[in-house]
Symmetry: C2
Subunit: 238 residues, 2 copies
Amino acid sequence: MPHKKLIARLQAVLGVSEYDGAALATMPHQIKTFAPGEYIWHQGDNTARCTIVMSGFLASEKVIAARNQILSIYLPGDIPDLHTLHLPVMEHDLSSIGTSTVASVSHSFLTDTLMKSPALMRAFWRETIIDAAIYRAWVGSLGSLRSLPRLAHLICELAARLEIVGLLKNDSFEFPFRQQNLADACGLSSVHVNRTVQELRQRGLIEWEGRVIRLLKRSELEALAEFNPGYLHVGKYI
Amino acid sequence: MPHKKLIARLQAVLGVSEYDGAALATMPHQIKTFAPGEYIWHQGDNTARCTIVMSGFLASEKVIAARNQILSIYLPGDIPDLHTLHLPVMEHDLSSIGTSTVASVSHSFLTDTLMKSPALMRAFWRETIIDAAIYRAWVGSLGSLRSLPRLAHLICELAARLEIVGLLKNDSFEFPFRQQNLADACGLSSVHVNRTVQELRQRGLIEWEGRVIRLLKRSELEALAEFNPGYLHVGKYI
DNA sequence: CGGGGGCTTGAAACTGATCAAAACGCGTGG
DNA sequence: CCACGCGTTTTGATCAGTTTCAAGCCCCCG
């Protein structure tokens, strides 16, 4: 059961009683590993399978105005291309940040399973709703926050989302990002990201060395970013 | 059948044959009218009804870093608060731009109807997926485009979405926006929006007087904005 | 030990913000 | 029908945040 993060998420919504575990736990899938920067999908690809992140991070990205814009970041338990169930053409790239492993499941299996279980379809729909809420938060961040709180917001969001799937330990998590990745996500230049990260460090808000980041004063960081995790729908089920 | 724009959208997905028109066409609803700037919901509201836009524009917005950020714009046929079916607490405000009329439908009716029809639930899920695609485009725009193409992108998107519901006539549409609304949506100051609109006019790309805007050279405007309507899923049904 | 990617630093240029004030337009009431 | 008043648009000048360009440094990996 390699996609257990996803199943845990869905199960929390469905409630143990009504959850038909067998269908998902035994779903036919393939496991793949991707190297840093490697592509899962390219823009224009016509897809027949969905991707479930098992470890590491994926990013959807698109070249706009000659820069590479990260549109969204996905972590274990997420399904970055769930929308291809409805429109199979990718409107953007999907690539791996650091090394990642994913499970891939055919559209036909998912569609069949979901059409048979309204409760399960509702749970998957909810995943899309949370996706949309995350995008909404990014729109707010990119539109209104200066570089320092904007970067802080991204870090807070990743911490909160990782916490949901049990990957946050002592306010610290695996963080295989390059500064260029942060720049691509936040719509900033890598030079400016560098200076901004330095300020977060100087203020004693974060510690980031190698592939691990730690939030030293999580509540202060969240206040700086005006971060409120409500939009992630944690623990607020149906 | 006051919400006919929505029904037309859903019907296109469902296919006329399998569409159980009676359920939606006869759904119990209330009609309301909102004045410019009036609020449909406030942040924190606990909702029991969904809103279907019938005429005019709504905007979801949130005060971030002491400015009012528009997170999304909704037009006839859209359901701005569909996500409240899953989490009834509003994380942002919803207000009217110009005068608008909406239909409001109870959560309980919608949930009952959707749980009985997988095809219908799938169609509503697809609406959320399009919402997410629109947010994704906004993230790209806010993160990567300078003010001129960013404004152009917003105008192109509204035109394309209005075209889908038959509200674009000769590349022209009702546009009850203030420059401040555009500023709030694009993450710019109203002063800068003013100068940017002037440049769009000087380049002969748009004509905007009173409450009507016209795209004089639509393809040029779309090229400037790097706008591609694919993400709206027009005419690409299951 | 060498190479290279990523990080860091500095200086100059630019985009867009801010502040302030004037002009415009339109609905209202006299 | 005109005058008033208020919200919106427009203009100018100055300021701040961020980008760009360029170079140097560090450290990890081969």
